[in-house]
């Protein structure tokens, strides 16, 4: 089986259980080299850098693993228009051209008008604006696309419906089906890039990864114009949050990235600052194409210090310039701009 994958130079979604299992370990180096070659052929030796900007940590959801859960008595902060501008300026000043706007789910406080204004403010400064927000109806996504958002990030967290219900105890996020359909609504609304993922350590790794792959396979047949990315966020213990049910090891994470690259040579793979610096450096050649750098995961984190609670602890605390310099040392070109405001 693995010989076939090596000989064919790639794998099928049905190979995922094997690729995620310890049975591949004797071949892992060879598979890693194949993944590196496939990544370089498709994306070159380049890594695109982006920064998340948290607009608000207000949230109605009661997710057991999240620092923004409504169960926590965390002080809630929603940036004003002026604060959003300041925050964006700070991120722009660090050199970023790709920005990801993040919020919790609190439609009264952070409604569509607020989001639209934030996207417009971002688009004035950044050629590429993506959003990681609560699911919207198609019309909502269309408004944000017209305002200048071209990317959506939305993780299903787990495809195990029973577990999903257990860890999403309240709030609109408890609606599994509504979340599952959201990426399709975004694609129909004209979103150019859509990022999917599961929260590693929440559910059964193999089952969730296979489901995620099948979700992606379906989406890219239906929405053939959309560029898809996959993320591999490992569950980190947040304040008041649950521990990972099953800790996902570095080795499992490496197998996963290799597996994704061997199955999907054309999708972007994202590794955030949830992972420590040294590990990110090692994971990079296995298939990673996008990285955040210098991230703050609390609203106002870039322009005003220590006001609000973080969503999760950042493990890689290097500055954007340090990350870029390290990439160059590793033989990768850090790409700050890979999109243009005149595309879509």
């Amino acid at each position: 089986m693995i010989e076939t994958i090596l000989a064919n130079g790639g794998a099928e979604p049905s190979d995922l259980p094997l690729l995620l299992s310890p049975a591949v370990d004797p071949w892992l180096e060879a598979l890693a080299r194949l993944a590196e070659r496939r990544t370089a052929a498709r994306f070159g030796r380049t890594v695109q850098l982006y920064a998340p900007v948290y607009l608000s940590n207000a949230c109605l959801n009661r997710c057991l693993y999240c620092g923004f859960s409504a169960r926590n008595d965390t002080p809630r902060v929603t940036l004003t228009g002026e604060q959003v501008e300041r925050e964006l300026e700070a991120v722009r000043g660090a050199g970023f051209q790709h920005v990801l706007l993040v919020t919790g789910e609190a439609p009264d406080e952070v409604g569509l008008d607020y989001l639209e204004a934030a996207v417009r403010a971002a688009k004035r400064r950044f050629p590429s604006v993506s959003i990681e927000i609560y699911p919207l109806p198609e019309e909502g996504y269309r408004r944000l696309v017209q305002a200048g958002a071209e990317g959506l990030v939305l993780y299903q967290e787990t495809y195990d419906r029973e577990l999903y219900a257990k860890v999403h105890r309240g709030g609109p996020k408890a609606d599994y089906e509504g979340r599952l359909q959201a990426p399709e609504r975004a694609c129909r609304a004209g979103m150019r890039k859509v990022g999917l993922g599961v929260l590693l350590g929440l559910g059964d790794l193999e089952a969730d990864v296979v489901a995620l792959a099948l979700h992606l396979v379906r989406l890219r047949k239906l929405y053939w114009r959309t560029f898809f990315t996959l993320s591999v966020p490992r569950l980190r213990q947040a304040r008041g949050g649950m521990r990972p049910r099953v800790a996902v090891t570095d080795r499992q994470l490496a197998r996963l990235i290799i597996a994704f690259r061997l199955v999907f040579d054309d999708v972007g793979l994202v590794v955030s600052t949830r992972e420590p610096a040294a590990l990110r450096d090692h994971l990079l050649p296995l298939g990673v194409t996008q990285m955040s750098a210098g991230s703050r995961t609390e609203p106002g984190g870039y322009s005003q210090d220590g006001q609000a609670e973080c969503q999760f602890a950042v493990e890689d605390g290097r500055s954007p310039a340090d990350v870029a310099a390290r990439l160059a040392t590793l033989g990768y070109e850090p790409v700050w701009k890979d999109w243009d405001r005149n595309l879509g």
């Binding site: 070159g44 114009r225 054309d266």
Partner: protein, 261 residues
């Protein structure tokens, strides 16, 4: 389309010193990119507009390209339809990047195959607008004629999908395109080895465009040089007139030898 007796590639009235065109994407560093371009001897160098910050005169990528020695060929990669391509092209020209344009309209991100309908539509608009348009296209002989008719300066059929390194797989269709072409035919995309490039030139392509195969080689500078040599060899072989291929050995005149004294 050559002046008799000379062997210079001419595109839109401009003599081009190399039949190897190169791209600037996917290099491990800008310094490596610059050295590889030098080693390739290419005069025409294509740059993705989406990588360039048109608002910043000191854009890193552009600073690494010596425009006194190369002809900058901005490309519209990332454009999903004609409108986006036209918008990008106009902004690039307004930003001082010239009026040569590699037109790429690739609505699907997996194989980055060109959309023939939107490409033709954009080409027509851009040519009227004064651009020198070099369109990336599938190896479709009728589309090649249509693009030529609207005034494109070349046609650029793919050898195989972008970045696939699979080589010159569209030989039969490109041969028909060449037979009918009144503009240079540049095989663009998919050439993974110098031998693929030589193959395309031997088969009569006027030029090739190579990016990935150089950029992701272990030594991009050495690979650029290898492509330059292959392109030169392929062109020389084409001009030398290769003998036809045969399946069996053949005596020189088995049927008509008796006519000789």
């Amino acid at each position: 389309m050559q002046t008799p007796g000379s062997d210079t590639l001419v595109i839109a009235g401009r003599e081009i010193r190399s039949r190897l065109l190169v791209g600037t994407g996917k290099f491990p560093s800008l310094a490596t990119m610059r050295a590889a371009i030098d080693a390739s001897g290419a005069e025409i160098v294509t740059v993705a507009l989406r990588r360039v910050d048109l608002d910043a005169p000191a854009d890193d990528l552009l600073l690494h390209l010596d425009r006194s020695r190369i002809l900058l060929l901005p490309n519209t990669s990332g454009a999903r339809d004609a409108d986006e391509a036209v918008r990008l092209a106009r902004l690039a020209r307004a930003a001082g990047l010239g009026n040569w344009l590699k037109l790429e309209v690739t609505p699907e991100p997996r194989y980055l195959l060109p959309d023939p309908i939107e490409t033709l539509r954009a080409a027509e608009i851009l040519v009227k607008d004064g651009f020198i348009v070099l369109p990336y296209m599938n190896a479709d002989p009728i589309l090649a004629k249509r693009l030529e008719e609207v005034g494109c300066a070349t046609v650029m059929p793919l050898g195989s999908p972008i970045g696939s390194n699979k080589g010159f797989r569209t030989r039969d269709a490109v041969r028909i395109i060449q037979e009918n072409a009144h503009v240079p035919v540049v095989v663009d995309a998919g050439l993974g080895l110098p031998s693929h490039a030589a193959d395309a030139l031997e088969s009569g392509a006027d030029a090739v465009l190579v990016n990935t195969a150089i950029a992701v080689a272990r030594d991009p500078v050495a690979m650029a040089r290898a492509f330059a040599l292959a392109v030169e060899a392929g062109r020389a072989a084409y001009l030398a007139g290769p003998g036809a291929k045969r399946d069996t050995a053949e005596a020189s005149s088995p049927l008509t030898g008796f006519l000789e004294p």
